[in-house]
């Protein structure tokens, strides 16, 4: 008989444990690095690639497998995913080698070049899975977006899709319905209307903001990809020249099956267009570099789990009452101008698949001097006693709110996301352009989620705009009225609105104090004599978001 124990409350660390590696945006594992002179065992990745692969995917009883770790030691899986994200891949591990002599017009990713680490493009602020530089591709360049809150975006896109398709399924032949969904906050997202014309046919001419299949694709500026798993397997190939075979994607995309990934994402290959893995089996050397199976499935599992749980952006209204008033006034001006009709502030997930959430807010007292932020991790998964060693800790049976019909089981309110998960026409200033400035076919873009906007300049899908004010003024089309409302504001009010947007920020996890380790035990300037230089900074003593303390065996570092 299974017993379920709710993991409630905040997981606070009794002791601040040193966290292995993590100070650099991109890291090599120490077992490679120790061969170099001056190598320091305290930084870098503790486990080499074969150790990270561990027991492969296995199952929940295969010690060291990805399924075992995800289900029984989830913080370790998240951490391993992070280390993989930061890892600098080497030629011997399959990095690059991809033949880039093809036609850039038919394979735009050729223009992106190659990078040896995920963090090479997604590494700002320091050490985070954040935003990055301009990625040179076709038809136009792209600014690498930040990945904060990625799991929440995947879930929101998925749940909106389910609601839209439920509306479609409810139609009788000849019947028309408005495709409107409520995701909390009182706002309604309107995707137009749909008419059933036959048993399996529909008139989708009036569907707007989403493909005719009603599948919301939250990833990429134009709304191109459904899931984190497709996103990461595709990026490893296109940006790093690392081809991974993934049975889940293969089953969904090629075999048209419905597959549930280890992170709980359902890939409905029977009804959705899922992206196939770059190679059809583990023996295929996709780029002819002499290496096959460059990204074993276990690593995909950990990285997917990591990105599912990646932090939400923070809010930093400051501690000065005047500044807080400006931020709040700016928020009201933002809503009053109509910006909030597309950039919807808060959305609700009915069934959160994560096992934990990290809330990061401005905290003048407990935050580090670098950003004065403090992150509070809260576990809301469940422990299922299946007499394993250790027991399963899983999101699958999270009973939070189970007794409340007011809020569906495992609901989670995603605050300050500012998006509607819909494509819009923002006028010619936002249309895709070729490098010679001709307008490209892509004219619709997903509403950019504004969380983190205060620290992720430049702006626009193409990074063409240097400031928040300018990117607001760049809006046209469906955003014209809101843009004009902003333009008509007094200078003081424009400033307040921009101050508000600047309070929506990203952060470096190594530089952010948390309840998980090193709660700034040395205040920056306790006696007015100058800040204390902390030994072991930043991984010990000064505060960081350190998942190590949540491992089943914290001494076994990743």
């Amino acid at each position: 008989m299974k017993a379920t124990t709710v993991l409630t409350g905040v997981a606070a660390a009794a002791a601040a444990l040193a966290l292995g590696g993590g100070a650099d945006a991109q890291m090599r594992d120490i077992k490679e690095k120790m061969t170099l002179p001056q190598a320091n065992a305290a930084d870098g990745i503790r486990k080499n690639l074969p150790e990270q692969v561990g027991g492969g995917r296995g199952n929940i009883n295969t010690i060291g497998s990805s399924l075992y770790i995800i289900n029984r030691d989830p913080a370790r899986s998240v951490r391993r995913g992070r280390q993989l994200f930061q890892r600098k891949f080497m030629d011997t591990q399959g990095f690059s080698g991809r033949d880039r002599s093809g036609n850039i017009h038919t394979d735009p990713s050729i223009g992106a070049g190659v990078v040896d680490s995920c963090a090479g493009c997604h590494g700002r602020p320091r050490g985070s899975a954040g935003f990055g530089g301009d990625v040179f591709t076709r038809p136009d360049s792209r600014d690498a977006p930040h990945l904060f809150g990625l799991g929440l975006q995947e879930q929101l896109g998925d749940e909106i899709t389910k609601k839209l398709r439920a509306i479609r399924a409810s139609l009788a032949i000849g019947q028309t319905a408005q495709l409107t969904v409520q995701m909390g906050g009182g706002a309604t997202i309107n995707y137009g209307s749909i008419t059933r014309t036959g048993a399996t046919t529909f008139n989708t001419a009036n569907v707007v903001g989403v493909n005719a299949d009603l599948r919301v694709r939250p990833f990429f500026a134009q709304g191109g990809t459904i899931s984190i798993r497709e996103f990461l397997v595709g990026a490893f190939n296109a940006e790093m020249g690392i081809q991974g075979f993934d049975q889940d994607l293969q089953n969904a995309a090629v075999n048209n099956q419905s597959v549930t990934t280890p992170s709980g994402m359902v890939l409905s290959g029977n009804i959705d267009d899922i992206e196939a893995p770059p190679v059809p089996n583990i023996n295929e050397d996709g780029d002819g570099d002499g290496i096959a199976n460059e990204l074993p499935t276990a690593l995909i599992d950990h990285e997917e789990f990591y990105l599912l749980h990646y932090f939400k952006p923070a809010t930093a209204p400051g501690s000065d009452p005047d500044q807080i008033a400006e931020v709040n006034n700016g928020r009201a001006l933002f809503m009053g101008a109509g910006c909030g009709s597309c950039h919807i502030p808060d959305l609700t997930i009915d069934r959160d698949r994560r096992i934990a959430d990290v809330e990061t807010t401005f905290n003048d007292a407990q935050g580090n001097p670098f950003n004065r932020l403090f992150a509070t991790a809260q576990l809301f998964g469940a422990i299922v006693n299946d007499f394993g060693t250790p027991n399963i800790r899983t999101f699958e049976s999270n009973p939070a709110y189970a007794d409340s019909a007011a809020v569906p089981p495992r609901a989670f309110v995603v605050r300050n996301i500012f998006s509607d998960f819909k494509r819009h026409n923002l006028g010619p200033n936002f249309f895709e352009r070729f490098h010679d400035n001709r307008t490209a076919p892509q004219q619709l873009f997903m509403t950019e989620a504004l969380w983190g906007v205060g620290t992720s300049a430049p702006y626009g899908h193409d990074g063409r705009t240097h400031s928040i004010e300018e990117v607001i003024l760049r809006h046209g089309g469906e955003g014209q009225a809101a843009r004009d409302a902003f333009a008509a504001m007094t200078r003081a009010n424009k400033n307040q609105l921009v101050t508000f947007l600047n309070s929506l920020i990203l952060f470096g996890p190594d530089d952010t104090a948390s309840n998980l380790a090193g709660v700034n035990t040395n205040p920056p300037d306790p006696d007015g004599g100058g800040p204390i230089v902390n030994q072991g900074f930043p991984q010990a003593g000064h505060g960081a978001i350190a998942l190590t303390v949540l491992f089943n065996n914290p001494a076994d570092l990743e």
Binding site: A332, D403, V407, R415, M489, A492
Partner: protein, 260 residues
């Protein structure tokens, strides 16, 4: 604090006592009929019938209250008796029973279900103010944080309106200061975000809540005043901004350091 099953039963018993007591007291008083017997008329039988009906409902409410776990029946009766002015007291007793639930999730679930099930427009609901005040009293500590999520997540219009009103009530009360700084900021943000989606009749209380939470400018911006500078209204922040600008310009003009 006792948390075991015996302790729980004990607390339930203590909670049942005032509920049963109130019901019995009302039943006794109602059965006695009108106390003013100076002008008995033909209307008396009608009044007596009404009183009898009241007593019947109170009796039923008392019976339901004794079965606290059957929230579905309580919610059903609460909704079924809505719109009948003579049922206010029995319905209030039912609400008290729902409010006496210790588990906050269950309590909110049943309360909001009852609120939603009542078709009476809030402006005509004799229990609306009582409901809102009762909800507002719940918003303390972690429950306040959860409640602020609930107000965003709730999609049923009447329940949602009650939740917003309860937080507007909290914002205007001294209890606001019992929230910590982060909670007050979250409440301010929540109220701003929801303000543009409330029905017109709820705007006044939301306006006042914004004024309490964020000052006059916030309420004025919500009313559309002082945004463009062309309506004759000047926000306090506009005055401060222009004052600071003029002061800096004056200091520069006189050659002194504007930072001092």
């Amino acid at each position: 604090m006792t948390t075991g099953p015996h302790g729980r039963r004990k607390r339930l018993l203590w909670l049942a006592i005032p509920i049963l007591g109130a019901g019995i007291l009302y039943g006794v008083l109602a059965s006695r009929g009108p106390s003013n017997d100076g002008a008995r008329s033909k209307a008396v039988p009608v009044a007596a019938r009404a009183a009898k009906a009241d007593a019947t409902r109170m009796s039923e409410a008392t019976r339901l209250s004794a079965r606290r776990g059957d929230t579905e029946a309580i919610v059903g009766a609460y909704a079924a008796w809505a719109g009948d002015p003579s049922s206010v007291a029995p319905r209030k007793l039912l609400l008290a029973t729902l409010l006496s639930e210790e588990d906050i999730a269950k309590k909110l679930s049943s309360l909001l279900a009852a609120i939603e099930a009542d078709p009476t427009p809030p402006e005509q609901d004799p229990l609306w103010e009582h409901l809102v005040q009762s909800l507002a009293k719940l918003w303390k500590g972690d429950t306040a944080t959860g409640g602020m999520d609930l107000v965003v997540a709730e999609r049923r219009p009447r329940a949602r309106r009650a939740l917003i009103s309860s937080f507007a009530t909290l914002a205007a009360s001294p209890a606001l200061l019992e929230l910590n700084g982060a909670q007050r900021q979250t409440l301010t943000e929540t109220m701003i975000d929801l303000a543009w989606h409330v029905p017109a009749s709820q705007r006044p209380e939301v306006t006042e809540a914004l004024r309490k939470l964020g000052g006059n400018d916030l309420a004025d911006i919500y009313a559309g005043r002082g945004v463009t500078g062309k309506d004759g209204h000047v926000l306090e922040s506009e005055v401060a901004y222009k004052g600071a600008l003029a002061e800096t310009q004056a200091k520069i003009a006189e050659g002194s350091n504007p930072a001092q």
